[in-house]
Point group: C2
Chain length 258, copies 2
Protein backbone atom coordinates (compact mmCIF):
# COMPACT_ATOMS: atom_id res chain seq x y z
CA UNK A 1 0.00 0.00 0.00
CA UNK A 2 1.43 3.40 -0.96
CA UNK A 3 2.30 5.84 1.79
CA UNK A 4 -0.52 8.31 2.00
CA UNK A 5 -1.37 11.66 3.39
CA UNK A 6 -2.57 11.03 6.91
CA UNK A 7 -3.01 14.75 7.55
CA UNK A 8 -5.88 14.86 5.15
CA UNK A 9 -7.96 12.15 6.69
CA UNK A 10 -11.33 12.58 8.39
CA UNK A 11 -11.27 10.27 11.37
CA UNK A 12 -14.91 10.80 12.26
CA UNK A 13 -15.90 9.66 8.81
CA UNK A 14 -13.78 6.53 9.08
CA UNK A 15 -15.38 5.62 12.40
CA UNK A 16 -18.85 6.17 11.02
CA UNK A 17 -18.21 3.97 8.03
CA UNK A 18 -16.75 1.28 10.25
CA UNK A 19 -19.94 1.32 12.31
CA UNK A 20 -22.09 0.99 9.19
CA UNK A 21 -19.92 -1.95 8.15
CA UNK A 22 -20.85 -3.84 11.32
CA UNK A 23 -24.34 -4.41 10.00
CA UNK A 24 -24.72 -7.38 7.68
CA UNK A 25 -26.93 -10.40 7.18
CA UNK A 26 -25.12 -12.26 9.96
CA UNK A 27 -25.33 -9.34 12.39
CA UNK A 28 -28.48 -7.42 11.54
CA UNK A 29 -28.80 -5.66 14.89
CA UNK A 30 -26.45 -4.14 17.45
CA UNK A 31 -26.82 -2.35 20.76
CA UNK A 32 -24.82 0.77 21.64
CA UNK A 33 -22.68 -1.13 24.12
CA UNK A 34 -21.97 -3.89 21.64
CA UNK A 35 -20.81 -1.37 19.07
CA UNK A 36 -18.75 0.47 21.65
CA UNK A 37 -17.04 -2.76 22.73
CA UNK A 38 -16.45 -3.99 19.21
CA UNK A 39 -15.07 -0.68 17.96
CA UNK A 40 -13.08 -0.05 21.15
CA UNK A 41 -14.59 3.40 21.21
CA UNK A 42 -16.06 5.55 23.92
CA UNK A 43 -19.77 5.07 24.46
CA UNK A 44 -20.60 8.73 24.01
CA UNK A 45 -18.71 8.88 20.74
CA UNK A 46 -20.58 5.86 19.47
CA UNK A 47 -23.80 7.47 20.62
CA UNK A 48 -23.02 10.58 18.56
CA UNK A 49 -22.15 8.61 15.43
CA UNK A 50 -25.10 6.28 15.74
CA UNK A 51 -27.46 9.16 16.44
CA UNK A 52 -26.24 10.80 13.24
CA UNK A 53 -27.08 7.71 11.23
CA UNK A 54 -30.48 7.44 12.91
CA UNK A 55 -31.36 11.03 12.07
CA UNK A 56 -30.30 10.54 8.48
CA UNK A 57 -32.36 7.35 8.17
CA UNK A 58 -29.43 4.98 7.72
CA UNK A 59 -30.06 3.27 11.02
CA UNK A 60 -33.27 2.70 12.95
CA UNK A 61 -33.64 2.32 16.68
CA UNK A 62 -36.16 -0.10 18.13
CA UNK A 63 -38.24 2.09 20.45
CA UNK A 64 -38.15 -0.23 23.43
CA UNK A 65 -34.97 -2.25 23.26
CA UNK A 66 -32.99 0.59 21.60
CA UNK A 67 -31.28 -1.97 19.41
CA UNK A 68 -30.12 -0.65 16.07
CA UNK A 69 -30.97 -1.95 12.60
CA UNK A 70 -30.26 -0.76 9.10
CA UNK A 71 -32.77 1.75 7.79
CA UNK A 72 -34.21 2.32 4.31
CA UNK A 73 -31.67 5.01 3.45
CA UNK A 74 -28.85 2.54 3.99
CA UNK A 75 -30.47 0.11 1.62
CA UNK A 76 -31.02 2.79 -1.00
CA UNK A 77 -27.37 3.76 -0.67
CA UNK A 78 -26.47 0.10 -1.01
CA UNK A 79 -28.36 -0.21 -4.27
CA UNK A 80 -26.88 3.00 -5.54
CA UNK A 81 -23.30 2.02 -4.75
CA UNK A 82 -23.80 -1.40 -6.28
CA UNK A 83 -25.11 -0.08 -9.57
CA UNK A 84 -22.84 2.97 -9.62
CA UNK A 85 -19.81 0.74 -10.08
CA UNK A 86 -19.39 0.14 -13.79
CA UNK A 87 -17.97 -3.35 -13.38
CA UNK A 88 -21.04 -4.54 -11.52
CA UNK A 89 -23.33 -3.43 -14.31
CA UNK A 90 -21.19 -5.33 -16.79
CA UNK A 91 -21.09 -8.60 -14.88
CA UNK A 92 -24.66 -8.50 -13.58
CA UNK A 93 -26.43 -9.86 -16.68
CA UNK A 94 -23.81 -12.57 -17.17
CA UNK A 95 -24.08 -13.79 -13.59
CA UNK A 96 -27.85 -13.49 -13.48
CA UNK A 97 -28.26 -15.62 -16.57
CA UNK A 98 -26.41 -18.53 -14.95
CA UNK A 99 -28.13 -17.95 -11.63
CA UNK A 100 -31.57 -18.09 -13.26
CA UNK A 101 -30.69 -21.09 -15.41
CA UNK A 102 -29.16 -23.32 -12.74
CA UNK A 103 -30.50 -21.75 -9.52
CA UNK A 104 -27.16 -21.75 -7.68
CA UNK A 105 -25.54 -19.35 -5.23
CA UNK A 106 -22.90 -17.26 -6.98
CA UNK A 107 -20.36 -14.76 -5.68
CA UNK A 108 -18.01 -12.46 -7.57
CA UNK A 109 -15.10 -10.84 -5.72
CA UNK A 110 -12.28 -8.53 -6.66
CA UNK A 111 -8.78 -8.90 -5.29
CA UNK A 112 -8.04 -5.53 -3.73
CA UNK A 113 -5.19 -4.69 -1.34
CA UNK A 114 -4.74 -8.32 -0.31
CA UNK A 115 -8.40 -8.85 0.45
CA UNK A 116 -11.21 -10.45 -1.46
CA UNK A 117 -13.93 -7.88 -1.84
CA UNK A 118 -17.35 -9.20 -2.75
CA UNK A 119 -18.85 -7.08 -5.50
CA UNK A 120 -21.81 -9.17 -6.59
CA UNK A 121 -23.74 -12.11 -5.29
CA UNK A 122 -26.88 -14.03 -5.97
CA UNK A 123 -28.25 -16.49 -3.47
CA UNK A 124 -30.69 -19.31 -3.79
CA UNK A 125 -33.78 -19.16 -1.62
CA UNK A 126 -32.22 -22.07 0.27
CA UNK A 127 -30.72 -19.69 2.80
CA UNK A 128 -27.38 -20.71 4.21
CA UNK A 129 -26.99 -20.40 7.93
CA UNK A 130 -23.87 -18.29 7.65
CA UNK A 131 -22.76 -15.88 4.96
CA UNK A 132 -19.20 -15.00 4.10
CA UNK A 133 -18.01 -11.54 4.97
CA UNK A 134 -18.14 -8.92 2.26
CA UNK A 135 -14.45 -8.14 2.70
CA UNK A 136 -12.30 -11.09 3.64
CA UNK A 137 -8.64 -11.62 4.41
CA UNK A 138 -9.15 -15.34 4.93
CA UNK A 139 -7.57 -16.77 1.79
CA UNK A 140 -6.46 -20.18 3.07
CA UNK A 141 -9.86 -21.68 3.87
CA UNK A 142 -12.10 -20.46 1.04
CA UNK A 143 -12.23 -21.61 -2.54
CA UNK A 144 -12.22 -17.96 -3.61
CA UNK A 145 -9.01 -17.26 -1.73
CA UNK A 146 -7.29 -20.36 -3.04
CA UNK A 147 -8.30 -19.70 -6.64
CA UNK A 148 -6.68 -16.27 -6.51
CA UNK A 149 -3.57 -17.27 -4.56
CA UNK A 150 -2.85 -20.13 -6.93
CA UNK A 151 -2.46 -17.79 -9.87
CA UNK A 152 -0.45 -15.06 -8.13
CA UNK A 153 3.25 -14.59 -9.00
CA UNK A 154 5.50 -16.69 -6.73
CA UNK A 155 6.82 -13.75 -4.69
CA UNK A 156 3.41 -12.32 -3.94
CA UNK A 157 2.01 -15.76 -3.18
CA UNK A 158 4.78 -16.49 -0.68
CA UNK A 159 4.20 -13.18 1.04
CA UNK A 160 0.45 -13.68 1.36
CA UNK A 161 0.53 -17.40 2.17
CA UNK A 162 2.88 -16.72 5.05
CA UNK A 163 0.54 -14.06 6.37
CA UNK A 164 -2.35 -16.53 6.65
CA UNK A 165 -3.16 -17.77 10.12
CA UNK A 166 -4.06 -21.34 9.10
CA UNK A 167 -6.34 -21.38 12.13
CA UNK A 168 -8.65 -24.37 12.27
CA UNK A 169 -12.17 -23.30 11.30
CA UNK A 170 -13.63 -26.78 10.89
CA UNK A 171 -12.54 -30.41 10.84
CA UNK A 172 -11.35 -30.18 7.26
CA UNK A 173 -9.47 -26.87 7.35
CA UNK A 174 -5.99 -27.03 5.87
CA UNK A 175 -3.85 -25.98 8.81
CA UNK A 176 -0.29 -26.16 7.56
CA UNK A 177 1.40 -24.29 4.81
CA UNK A 178 2.96 -27.29 3.05
CA UNK A 179 -0.36 -29.03 2.57
CA UNK A 180 -1.65 -25.68 1.42
CA UNK A 181 1.00 -25.30 -1.27
CA UNK A 182 0.18 -28.80 -2.50
CA UNK A 183 -3.48 -27.88 -2.71
CA UNK A 184 -2.65 -24.76 -4.71
CA UNK A 185 -0.66 -26.85 -7.17
CA UNK A 186 -3.77 -28.91 -7.82
CA UNK A 187 -5.79 -25.73 -8.23
CA UNK A 188 -3.36 -24.60 -10.93
CA UNK A 189 -3.63 -27.88 -12.81
CA UNK A 190 -7.40 -28.02 -12.49
CA UNK A 191 -7.94 -24.34 -13.27
CA UNK A 192 -10.30 -23.92 -10.33
CA UNK A 193 -10.31 -24.38 -6.54
CA UNK A 194 -12.46 -26.47 -4.24
CA UNK A 195 -13.72 -25.82 -0.75
CA UNK A 196 -14.50 -29.08 0.99
CA UNK A 197 -16.11 -27.73 4.17
CA UNK A 198 -12.81 -26.12 5.12
CA UNK A 199 -14.40 -22.90 6.27
CA UNK A 200 -17.62 -24.09 7.84
CA UNK A 201 -18.90 -27.63 8.16
CA UNK A 202 -21.56 -28.24 5.54
CA UNK A 203 -20.47 -25.45 3.22
CA UNK A 204 -18.90 -26.46 -0.10
CA UNK A 205 -17.80 -24.36 -3.05
CA UNK A 206 -15.89 -24.27 -6.31
CA UNK A 207 -14.13 -21.10 -7.48
CA UNK A 208 -12.23 -19.99 -10.56
CA UNK A 209 -9.94 -16.99 -10.85
CA UNK A 210 -10.78 -14.04 -13.08
CA UNK A 211 -7.53 -13.35 -14.89
CA UNK A 212 -6.56 -10.06 -16.52
CA UNK A 213 -6.84 -10.34 -20.28
CA UNK A 214 -3.44 -8.91 -20.98
CA UNK A 215 -1.56 -9.66 -17.79
CA UNK A 216 -3.01 -13.03 -16.64
CA UNK A 217 -2.84 -11.53 -13.16
CA UNK A 218 -5.75 -12.61 -10.96
CA UNK A 219 -8.09 -9.65 -10.68
CA UNK A 220 -10.68 -11.51 -8.66
CA UNK A 221 -12.67 -14.70 -8.67
CA UNK A 222 -16.01 -16.33 -9.22
CA UNK A 223 -17.41 -18.91 -6.84
CA UNK A 224 -20.40 -21.23 -6.82
CA UNK A 225 -21.56 -22.23 -3.35
CA UNK A 226 -23.69 -25.02 -2.03
CA UNK A 227 -24.23 -27.15 1.06
CA UNK A 228 -23.72 -30.83 1.77
CA UNK A 229 -27.44 -31.52 2.16
CA UNK A 230 -27.84 -30.41 -1.48
CA UNK A 231 -24.71 -31.82 -3.13
CA UNK A 232 -21.60 -33.78 -2.36
CA UNK A 233 -18.54 -31.85 -3.46
CA UNK A 234 -17.88 -34.38 -6.23
CA UNK A 235 -21.38 -34.04 -7.63
CA UNK A 236 -21.20 -30.28 -7.41
CA UNK A 237 -17.86 -30.21 -9.20
CA UNK A 238 -19.00 -32.62 -11.94
CA UNK A 239 -22.14 -30.68 -12.52
CA UNK A 240 -20.86 -27.12 -12.50
CA UNK A 241 -17.08 -26.92 -13.01
CA UNK A 242 -17.42 -26.36 -16.76
CA UNK A 243 -20.08 -23.68 -16.29
CA UNK A 244 -17.92 -22.02 -13.63
CA UNK A 245 -14.83 -21.79 -15.81
CA UNK A 246 -16.81 -20.61 -18.79
CA UNK A 247 -18.46 -17.83 -16.78
CA UNK A 248 -15.14 -16.83 -15.20
CA UNK A 249 -13.69 -16.51 -18.69
CA UNK A 250 -16.60 -14.34 -19.79
CA UNK A 251 -16.19 -12.14 -16.72
CA UNK A 252 -12.49 -11.71 -17.53
CA UNK A 253 -13.57 -10.14 -20.79
CA UNK A 254 -15.58 -7.39 -19.13
CA UNK A 255 -13.53 -6.66 -16.02
CA UNK A 256 -10.98 -3.95 -16.74
CA UNK A 257 -7.34 -4.94 -16.35
CA UNK A 258 -5.40 -2.90 -13.81
Amino acid sequence: MPEVNRDYFAKTLEKGIRILNLFDANHPSWSLTEISARMELNLTSVYRLVNTFVELGYLMKEPKSKRLHLGPMAVALGNQLLHGFDTVRLIEPLVDEIHCRYNISIEVSLFHSNCLVQIYKRETSNTLTYRLEAVSELLYCTSSGKSVLAFLPAEKLKHLAEAQSFARRSEKTITNIDAFYEDLEQVRQRGYALNNEEYIKGLIAIAAPILGRGTSYPLGCLSFNSTTPDHTLDEFEDKYAVVLCELARKLSEVIPDV
Copy 2:
Protein backbone atom coordinates in the same frame (compact mmCIF):
# COMPACT_ATOMS: atom_id res chain seq x y z
CA MET B 1 -40.29 14.34 11.92
CA PRO B 2 -39.70 14.27 15.67
CA GLU B 3 -37.46 16.88 17.23
CA VAL B 4 -34.06 15.32 17.71
CA ASN B 5 -30.87 15.83 19.53
CA ARG B 6 -28.76 18.01 17.28
CA ASP B 7 -26.01 18.16 19.87
CA TYR B 8 -25.20 14.55 19.27
CA PHE B 9 -24.68 14.74 15.55
CA ALA B 10 -21.40 14.17 13.71
CA LYS B 11 -21.32 16.72 10.91
CA THR B 12 -18.23 15.31 9.30
CA LEU B 13 -19.94 11.97 8.95
CA GLU B 14 -22.98 13.55 7.35
CA LYS B 15 -20.83 15.36 4.80
CA GLY B 16 -18.94 12.20 3.96
CA ILE B 17 -22.12 10.23 3.42
CA ARG B 18 -23.51 13.01 1.25
CA ILE B 19 -20.41 12.80 -0.93
CA LEU B 20 -20.75 9.03 -1.28
CA ASN B 21 -24.36 9.57 -2.29
CA LEU B 22 -23.30 11.68 -5.26
CA PHE B 23 -22.02 8.59 -7.04
CA ASP B 24 -24.63 6.61 -8.91
CA ALA B 25 -25.18 5.01 -12.30
CA ASN B 26 -26.07 8.39 -13.81
CA HIS B 27 -23.05 10.16 -12.29
CA PRO B 28 -20.30 7.56 -12.01
CA SER B 29 -17.43 10.02 -11.78
CA TRP B 30 -16.81 13.40 -10.17
CA SER B 31 -13.89 15.81 -9.91
CA LEU B 32 -12.95 17.53 -6.66
CA THR B 33 -14.18 20.89 -7.95
CA GLU B 34 -17.47 19.41 -9.08
CA ILE B 35 -18.04 17.90 -5.65
CA SER B 36 -17.04 21.12 -3.94
CA ALA B 37 -19.47 23.13 -6.07
CA ARG B 38 -22.31 20.66 -5.67
CA MET B 39 -21.89 20.32 -1.92
CA GLU B 40 -21.23 24.04 -1.42
CA LEU B 41 -18.23 23.06 0.62
CA ASN B 42 -14.70 24.31 0.82
CA LEU B 43 -12.30 22.62 -1.57
CA THR B 44 -9.87 21.62 1.15
CA SER B 45 -12.64 20.07 3.21
CA VAL B 46 -13.79 18.08 0.22
CA TYR B 47 -10.21 17.07 -0.38
CA ARG B 48 -9.96 15.71 3.17
CA LEU B 49 -13.21 13.78 2.95
CA VAL B 50 -12.48 12.39 -0.49
CA ASN B 51 -8.94 11.47 0.50
CA THR B 52 -10.37 9.51 3.42
CA PHE B 53 -12.59 7.52 1.11
CA VAL B 54 -9.72 6.92 -1.29
CA GLU B 55 -7.49 5.58 1.45
CA LEU B 56 -10.23 3.30 2.68
CA GLY B 57 -10.87 2.00 -0.84
CA TYR B 58 -14.38 3.40 -1.16
CA LEU B 59 -13.34 5.81 -3.92
CA MET B 60 -10.64 5.51 -6.55
CA LYS B 61 -8.76 8.36 -8.18
CA GLU B 62 -7.80 8.14 -11.85
CA PRO B 63 -4.04 8.75 -11.76
CA LYS B 64 -3.94 11.33 -14.54
CA SER B 65 -7.27 13.11 -14.59
CA LYS B 66 -7.76 12.77 -10.80
CA ARG B 67 -11.42 12.11 -11.39
CA LEU B 68 -13.08 10.01 -8.70
CA HIS B 69 -14.99 6.75 -9.12
CA LEU B 70 -16.50 4.29 -6.70
CA GLY B 71 -14.04 1.65 -5.48
CA PRO B 72 -14.49 -2.02 -4.62
CA MET B 73 -15.00 -1.35 -0.91
CA ALA B 74 -17.99 0.83 -1.71
CA VAL B 75 -19.53 -1.94 -3.75
CA ALA B 76 -18.89 -4.50 -1.01
CA LEU B 77 -20.54 -2.15 1.46
CA GLY B 78 -23.41 -1.76 -0.98
CA ASN B 79 -23.96 -5.49 -1.13
CA GLN B 80 -23.69 -5.80 2.60
CA LEU B 81 -26.20 -3.03 3.32
CA LEU B 82 -28.59 -4.45 0.77
CA HIS B 83 -28.60 -7.92 2.24
CA GLY B 84 -28.32 -6.76 5.84
CA PHE B 85 -31.81 -5.29 5.66
CA ASP B 86 -34.25 -8.05 6.56
CA THR B 87 -37.01 -6.78 4.30
CA VAL B 88 -34.78 -7.01 1.24
CA ARG B 89 -34.03 -10.64 1.89
CA LEU B 90 -37.74 -11.35 2.20
CA ILE B 91 -38.76 -9.62 -1.01
CA GLU B 92 -35.76 -10.66 -3.10
CA PRO B 93 -36.91 -14.16 -4.09
CA LEU B 94 -40.43 -12.96 -4.86
CA VAL B 95 -39.21 -10.18 -7.12
CA ASP B 96 -36.53 -12.29 -8.74
CA GLU B 97 -38.99 -14.97 -9.70
CA ILE B 98 -41.11 -12.49 -11.68
CA HIS B 99 -38.01 -10.82 -13.09
CA CYS B 100 -36.68 -14.14 -14.37
CA ARG B 101 -40.01 -15.27 -15.72
CA TYR B 102 -41.00 -12.12 -17.61
CA ASN B 103 -37.66 -10.35 -18.02
CA ILE B 104 -38.93 -6.93 -16.97
CA SER B 105 -37.40 -4.05 -15.00
CA ILE B 106 -38.74 -3.98 -11.47
CA GLU B 107 -38.32 -1.53 -8.61
CA VAL B 108 -39.44 -1.78 -5.00
CA SER B 109 -39.48 1.36 -2.85
CA LEU B 110 -40.44 2.18 0.71
CA PHE B 111 -42.27 5.35 1.67
CA HIS B 112 -40.03 6.92 4.29
CA SER B 113 -40.22 10.52 5.61
CA ASN B 114 -42.10 11.72 2.54
CA CYS B 115 -39.65 10.21 0.08
CA LEU B 116 -39.70 7.08 -1.98
CA VAL B 117 -36.62 5.12 -1.09
CA GLN B 118 -35.61 2.42 -3.53
CA ILE B 119 -34.75 -0.76 -1.68
CA TYR B 120 -34.56 -3.30 -4.48
CA LYS B 121 -34.39 -3.28 -8.23
CA ARG B 122 -33.82 -5.62 -11.11
CA GLU B 123 -33.11 -4.28 -14.57
CA THR B 124 -33.34 -5.87 -17.96
CA SER B 125 -30.17 -5.91 -20.03
CA ASN B 126 -31.92 -3.36 -22.23
CA THR B 127 -30.29 -0.53 -20.28
CA LEU B 128 -32.33 2.60 -19.95
CA THR B 129 -30.57 5.85 -20.69
CA TYR B 130 -31.52 7.38 -17.38
CA ARG B 131 -32.18 5.78 -14.04
CA LEU B 132 -34.40 7.13 -11.32
CA GLU B 133 -32.76 8.39 -8.19
CA ALA B 134 -32.48 6.03 -5.26
CA VAL B 135 -34.21 8.51 -2.97
CA SER B 136 -36.86 10.61 -4.66
CA GLU B 137 -39.18 13.38 -3.54
CA LEU B 138 -40.77 13.63 -7.00
CA LEU B 139 -44.13 12.05 -6.41
CA TYR B 140 -46.23 13.83 -9.06
CA CYS B 141 -44.49 12.53 -12.19
CA THR B 142 -43.72 8.91 -11.39
CA SER B 143 -46.05 5.95 -11.24
CA SER B 144 -44.46 4.98 -7.92
CA GLY B 145 -45.21 8.37 -6.40
CA LYS B 146 -48.77 8.38 -7.65
CA SER B 147 -49.47 4.85 -6.47
CA VAL B 148 -48.49 5.81 -2.94
CA LEU B 149 -50.14 9.23 -2.85
CA ALA B 150 -53.44 7.82 -4.08
CA PHE B 151 -53.76 5.60 -1.04
CA LEU B 152 -52.66 8.08 1.60
CA PRO B 153 -55.21 9.53 4.06
CA ALA B 154 -56.78 12.75 2.72
CA GLU B 155 -54.92 15.08 5.10
CA LYS B 156 -51.51 13.65 4.39
CA LEU B 157 -52.22 13.56 0.65
CA LYS B 158 -53.21 17.23 0.62
CA HIS B 159 -50.07 18.17 2.47
CA LEU B 160 -47.80 16.26 0.14
CA ALA B 161 -49.58 17.08 -3.10
CA GLU B 162 -49.31 20.78 -2.33
CA ALA B 163 -45.60 20.40 -1.70
CA GLN B 164 -45.01 19.02 -5.22
CA SER B 165 -43.51 21.42 -7.74
CA PHE B 166 -45.49 20.17 -10.74
CA ALA B 167 -42.55 21.31 -12.85
CA ARG B 168 -42.74 20.17 -16.46
CA ARG B 169 -40.30 17.28 -16.98
CA SER B 170 -41.56 16.19 -20.40
CA GLU B 171 -44.42 16.91 -22.82
CA LYS B 172 -46.79 14.70 -20.91
CA THR B 173 -46.05 15.77 -17.33
CA ILE B 174 -49.13 16.59 -15.28
CA THR B 175 -48.47 20.20 -14.33
CA ASN B 176 -51.50 21.27 -12.35
CA ILE B 177 -52.87 19.97 -9.13
CA ASP B 178 -56.49 19.55 -10.25
CA ALA B 179 -55.57 17.28 -13.15
CA PHE B 180 -53.34 15.47 -10.68
CA TYR B 181 -56.15 14.82 -8.20
CA GLU B 182 -58.27 13.46 -11.08
CA ASP B 183 -55.45 11.13 -12.03
CA LEU B 184 -55.17 9.88 -8.46
CA GLU B 185 -58.89 9.12 -8.41
CA GLN B 186 -58.35 6.84 -11.39
CA VAL B 187 -55.41 5.23 -9.63
CA ARG B 188 -57.66 4.42 -6.70
CA GLN B 189 -60.30 2.84 -8.90
CA ARG B 190 -57.78 0.90 -10.95
CA GLY B 191 -55.66 -0.15 -7.97
CA TYR B 192 -52.43 0.85 -9.68
CA ALA B 193 -50.83 3.93 -11.28
CA LEU B 194 -49.52 4.58 -14.78
CA ASN B 195 -46.64 6.68 -15.96
CA ASN B 196 -47.19 7.71 -19.54
CA GLU B 197 -43.80 9.33 -20.26
CA GLU B 198 -44.54 11.95 -17.63
CA TYR B 199 -41.08 11.88 -16.14
CA ILE B 200 -38.89 11.32 -19.19
CA LYS B 201 -39.96 10.93 -22.80
CA GLY B 202 -39.85 7.28 -23.76
CA LEU B 203 -40.11 5.94 -20.21
CA ILE B 204 -43.33 4.19 -19.22
CA ALA B 205 -44.26 2.38 -16.01
CA ILE B 206 -47.03 0.84 -13.97
CA ALA B 207 -46.93 0.82 -10.17
CA ALA B 208 -49.01 -0.61 -7.36
CA PRO B 209 -48.93 0.41 -3.72
CA ILE B 210 -47.75 -1.99 -1.02
CA LEU B 211 -50.36 -1.60 1.70
CA GLY B 212 -49.91 -2.45 5.36
CA ARG B 213 -51.72 -5.67 6.19
CA GLY B 214 -53.44 -4.27 9.24
CA THR B 215 -53.53 -0.58 8.51
CA SER B 216 -53.97 -0.38 4.71
CA TYR B 217 -51.51 2.49 4.91
CA PRO B 218 -49.16 2.61 1.89
CA LEU B 219 -45.78 1.38 3.10
CA GLY B 220 -44.18 1.60 -0.32
CA CYS B 221 -44.73 0.52 -3.87
CA LEU B 222 -43.78 -1.84 -6.65
CA SER B 223 -43.22 -0.64 -10.19
CA PHE B 224 -42.60 -2.30 -13.54
CA ASN B 225 -40.73 -0.11 -16.02
CA SER B 226 -40.33 -0.21 -19.76
CA THR B 227 -39.68 2.05 -22.74
CA THR B 228 -41.80 3.05 -25.72
CA PRO B 229 -39.60 1.19 -28.20
CA ASP B 230 -40.49 -2.01 -26.34
CA HIS B 231 -44.12 -1.47 -25.42
CA THR B 232 -46.92 1.02 -25.74
CA LEU B 233 -48.32 1.85 -22.33
CA ASP B 234 -51.59 0.07 -23.21
CA GLU B 235 -49.79 -3.10 -24.19
CA PHE B 236 -47.63 -2.96 -21.10
CA GLU B 237 -50.62 -2.47 -18.86
CA ASP B 238 -52.63 -5.27 -20.49
CA LYS B 239 -49.74 -7.65 -20.26
CA TYR B 240 -48.50 -6.98 -16.74
CA ALA B 241 -51.10 -5.20 -14.58
CA VAL B 242 -52.38 -8.44 -13.10
CA VAL B 243 -48.87 -9.71 -12.36
CA LEU B 244 -48.01 -6.35 -10.81
CA CYS B 245 -50.96 -6.32 -8.44
CA GLU B 246 -50.44 -9.94 -7.49
CA LEU B 247 -46.77 -9.35 -6.67
CA ALA B 248 -47.59 -6.17 -4.74
CA ARG B 249 -50.04 -8.15 -2.66
CA LYS B 250 -47.44 -10.82 -1.96
CA LEU B 251 -44.94 -8.15 -0.94
CA SER B 252 -47.49 -6.69 1.47
CA GLU B 253 -47.46 -9.99 3.24
CA VAL B 254 -43.74 -9.93 3.98
CA ILE B 255 -43.13 -6.22 4.58
CA PRO B 256 -43.59 -5.41 8.27
CA ASP B 257 -46.33 -2.96 9.09
CA VAL B 258 -45.21 0.19 10.91
